[in-house]
Symmetry: C2
Subunit: 253 residues, 2 copies
């Protein structure tokens, strides 16, 4: 099949990249694998001369990159947000390989945007950033030396999707996966609701929410699903506040 249109929907997001050479190598790797959409989140004083040199004939991707202040903005319109994590990182029990996720990425990319998110060279993605991800990617590596160069990590993820795309036929999709910004509104409502109902205390809230995020992003979560979940959370908050008010009222009586 002609795959250009699908690959056009796949975005590479680099969070806090440090070395211009890596960013340039990422551009070349993307071009080799048919991708063009590059977003940098808070790049750190990149050496652009090095970036240009390593980008080689892919300087158009470098020139047309977007720079943003937060990962949330970078993936707001993305229906699947696939983040990479180191072997020993958090959530590794949920991680799957680039090959495992390649088909999912293409399925979502047939009708919506997909982000592949890569962390800082020195310290990866932080927990807040990982929590925006709906899929966790772990690249298979040797136990002896698992730390892979940023551009090499990007290459493998893009390569797996490119190889898969050559034989891939997208199925008919009925309902679209929810975009990130909508999921985040939903999770915000649930957070408040679980606090309101006393299910969790503030000091455990972040931890509990990570669990809920995993449960709700394990399968496909459509826009309709998200609207239903938002309704549930709002209603629980309303009920909890009603009960609290009644209790206060009862006390003051």
């Amino acid at each position: 099949m002609g795959m250009g249109m699908n690959l056009d929907n796949i975005r590479v997001v680099l969070v806090g990249p440090l070395y211009g050479g890596n960013v340039g190598s990422v551009c070349r790797a993307m071009a080799n694998m048919g991708l063009t959409d590059l977003v940098l989140v808070q790049p750190r004083n990149l050496n652009m001369e090095e970036a240009r040199m390593m980008a080689c004939h892919a300087t158009d991707i470098l020139d047309e990159r977007t720079e943003l202040d937060s990962l949330a903005e970078a993936v707001a319109d993305c229906r699947a947000v696939m983040g990479t994590t180191a072997r020993m990182g958090l959530y590794r029990q949920h991680a799957r390989t680039p090959r495992d996720w390649a088909r999912k990425a293409l399925r979502v990319a047939a009708t919506g945007n997909v982000a592949l998110v890569f962390g800082r060279e020195d310290k990866g993605l932080d927990n807040e950033e990982l929590s925006l991800c709906t899929q966790i990617i772990q690249i298979p590596t040797s136990d002896e030396y698992s730390s892979i160069n940023l551009a090499q990590a990007v290459l493998i993820c893009c390569y797996e999707i490119f190889v898969e795309s050559e034989t891939y036929e997208p199925p008919e999709e009925k309902s679209q996966e929810a975009p990130s910004f909508l999921r985040e509104i939903m999770f915000g409502l649930w957070r408040q609701s679980l606090l309101d109902t006393g299910f969790m205390k503030l000091d455990k809230a972040d931890h509990m929410m990570q669990g809920l995020r995993r449960i709700l992003t394990r399968g496909k979560l459509t826009e309709d699903d998200v609207h239903i979940l938002m309704g549930m959370a709002r209603q629980a908050s309303w009920a909890a506040r009603g009960k609290a008010e009644a209790a206060e009222k009862a006390e003051s009586d």
Copy 2:
């Protein structure tokens, strides 16, 4: 299965590398994928400081590299010699993907050495070098930009073998694939024999031999096979020379 022993038999050979940074990145990629055996053939004034920097925690591979004067020496003991070629290169009709060859590489590596051969950054492998290869690898890339960075090419080939190795069980091997040096002696005898018998003239010999190389390396070629083929070639040469001598004698009578 424990795969260390198999991956130990897989050698990365870089022919005429130009940039130290690439060689260093190759070391890191090899370490990430469990390989350690690096051979450089006629490296060209490498910037070793850059190499060391990019090798990161894989400087042991860099320090323990072998440097040789010819590809023939570098692969002499290798039973499979897998060379990479650009999309538009010679022999591309024989080329298969890194994934296609990964299982073959592991099968041979279970009992013998395998070379993965990568050409110069600027002009790849020449015809003589490609003729030493028993398998031609072509990495899948976009039509728009097919030229892939050296370290990125090495990574993809090593990655495919590493991923395959995680689930791979080697079969019982009865007869071993012939090593490169023995194949080359055999091809030398055949070249002479085909000249002796008048099958080909000297000006077409290289071209004809490429064809024969393809035919004889398409399947597995064992040491026994090679000895039989050497015998055939020697015998044909002997017969052809006998006939030539008889003709000369008849003329002088």
